[in-house]
């Protein structure tokens, strides 16, 4: 049975908004998704009824909050195919990737003892990323390379933005210690061949870091089946609240990795000279935790479970194809990424010949249609594709066929309006 879009839409209060005197057509879910009532209610319920810090204090509210917080972790663990102690709360994907890079950095500086040797980097070692990464999965590695003396290399894309897998094979050799790449490109909507890259990394003993920011909302995610060492995601892109995300790491790795942020709630014992750290996940969760956000993210995962991620994926792929087919038929439009008929999520970035993306976005906003314009935090990819910026439309579970059509109709008028 397909998703009942009309029924779903009733759960999203933001869809009642009007923009430019028209009903909002929200096609910017890849930046941040709308939130269903279930998520808003979960957040409100926490503050109204249970407001307290977790893992501290013996009172009833604290106990309830702790239980909800940990069952949220259990829920997210199931959602991504991990164990609860392999799920670390972070502010988002950016926070998670920086956590990793700084933990590796600390290991490289000698912290964490012998067991942290896997995370040590130095001159002669290599970190490999791809040319299509979001800046969040690029700059932390650049900086890590700068701090440790390791070199950063990247798997290039071709003129159509396709990852050059033959180059990957040549690039991933014995010196590579970390391979970090995105599961789904936030610009191209394409799905990375994870298994092939993981096999290359395994052959040389490199750690694999998967940026699942754009895949977690759209596909059934199973980190164990994908066999990656680490994965990161942002809750706000998958119906959850802002300010919370997930770092997944294999338990044996997380328990051997030195922490990044240190402070309260992550220790076993502390003297004036030193501290012993708790195992994962507490080891990486210093300070008062974002409890309401974690609980609400679990509510988002619960909502998605209710829809069924297989069906979400199916609908999303359908919308993605509608976007590409519609855009491709408009003269003067260059769609980035996979052609119609090829795999993509519900996301399409494009360039309008002779019209700057800002003007495209402004024109569409006047029709009540919200899209993203700019380089989408992927400057190197845009440069490679010969564009300073692009316009991106991205769909989600609440997107209707009519909305996609309104968008396509809007785009087909852009060049006329700007007299190109």
């Amino acid at each position: 049975m397909a998703l009942d879009t009309e029924c779903i839409r009733a759960d999203f209060p933001t869809l009642r908004r009007h923009v430019s005197d028209r009903p909002l057509v929200y096609l910017d879910s890849a930046a941040t998704s709308l939130k269903p009532l279930a998520v808003l209610d979960a957040e409100r319920d926490f503050y109204e009824n249970r407001n307290s810090a977790v893992h501290r204090g013996a009172h009833t509210l604290a106990a309830e909050a702790t239980e909800l917080f940990e069952s949220a972790r259990d829920h997210i663990a199931r959602f991504i195919g991990a164990e609860p102690n392999e799920v670390v709360w972070v502010p988002g994907a950016t926070g998670a990737l920086n956590l990793l890079a700084y933990s590796f950095s600390n290991a490289s500086a000698g912290m964490g003892g012998d067991e942290a040797h896997r995370f040590r980097l130095g001159p002669g070692d290599e970190i490999v990323v791809t040319e299509q990464e979001h800046h969040a999965n690029l700059i932390p590695w650049q900086e890590l390379a700068g701090r440790t003396g390791a070199s950063l290399r990247y798997i290039p894309v071709d003129d159509d933005g396709r990852l050059q897998m033959d180059e990957a094979t040549a690039l991933i050799g014995e010196r590579v210690k970390v391979l970090a790449f995105t599961h789904v490109s936030n610009v191209l909507g394409s799905v990375t061949p994870v298994a092939e890259l993981v096999a290359l990394a395994r052959a040389v003993g490199a750690l694999v870091v998967l940026d699942a920011c754009q895949s977690a909302p759209h596909l059934p995610l199973d980190v164990k089946a994908l066999d990656v060492d680490f994965a990161v995601l942002s809750g706000h892109k998958m119906l959850g609240p802002l300010g919370i995300g997930v770092l997944y790491g294999r338990a044996d790795l997380l328990n051997a990795m030195p922490p990044f942020l240190t402070g309260g709630s992550m220790i076993t014992s502390v003297t004036m000279e030193s501290a012993e750290f708790l195992p994962s996940p507490a080891r990486f969760e210093a300070g008062t935790q974002p409890v309401a956000q974690a609980i609400s993210l679990a509510a988002a995962a619960h909502y998605l479970d209710g829809l069924g991620m297989a069906r979400v994926h199916e609908r999303d792929a359908e919308l993605g194809q509608m976007l590409v087919r519609g855009l491709t038929e408009i003269p003067g439009i260059r769609v980035l990424g996979p052609a119609a008929g090829e795999d993509r999520v519900g996301l399409a970035s494009f360039a309008v010949d002779g019209v700057h993306p800002h003007d495209v976005g402004q024109f569409l906003d006047d029709l009540g249609i919200a899209v993203r314009v700019g380089h989408h935090c992927a400057q190197p990819l845009h440069r490679r594709l010969g564009l300073p910026a692009s316009t991106r439309a991205s769909t989600y579970v609440y997107t209707t066929d009519d909305e996609v059509q309104a968008f396509i109709d809007g785009v087909s008028e852009v060049r006329g309006y700007f007299r190109v």
Partner: protein, 157 residues
């Protein structure tokens, strides 16, 4: 109402300037130069400032860049204001433009000071676009700042 808002943003004169791009194409012999970047969209603009022999009057500006209708039109309009303008008169124009851009649609702008650029008043209602309109003006401000001070003893033995 659709269209009305948009048409008041993209007025004829703005559309025309964005296509004609007065002063586009970098010329040599610049006194100073400025390169500006709009980090949100990756747009770039280079402005060369050409001054007369005594260095107190602008001959012209030449520029090169890519960007939206607003940024290109704004730069083209700015170009038209500058030919023969005493350097000392740049600052009040910059201040007037900036004030208009920060006014959220409240200030119309003085055509004597801003020329065609008064048409950009409507941009100030679109907070996300103010940076686009400012790009060339920020480049000019930077280029003027780099000029030697007016009383510097240039070429006088």
């Amino acid at each position: 109402m659709s269209g009305a808002g948009l048409d008041s943003l993209y007025q004829e004169v703005i559309m025309d300037h964005s296509k004609q791009r007065h002063g586009a194409g970098l010329r040599e012999d610049a006194a100073t130069s400025s390169h500006q970047l709009n980090p949100t969209c990756g747009d770039e603009l280079t402005l060369n400032l050409h001054v007369n022999a005594t260095g107190d009057t602008i001959d012209s500006v030449s520029w090169d860049g890519q960007g939206c209708v607003i940024s290109q039109a704004s730069m083209s309009m700015l170009h038209d204001l500058l030919g023969g303008l005493p350097v000392a008169q740049v600052e009040p124009r910059l201040a007037a433009f900036r004030e208009m851009m920060r006014s959220k649609g409240q200030i119309e702008g003085d055509p004597d000071l801003l020329g065609d650029a008064v048409a950009l008043a409507g941009v100030s209602r679109y907070v996300a676009r103010v940076k686009c309109a400012m790009l060339g003006w920020v480049a000019l401000e930077d280029a003027v700042r780099q000029l030697p001070p007016p009383d510097a003893d240039l070429g006088h033995p």
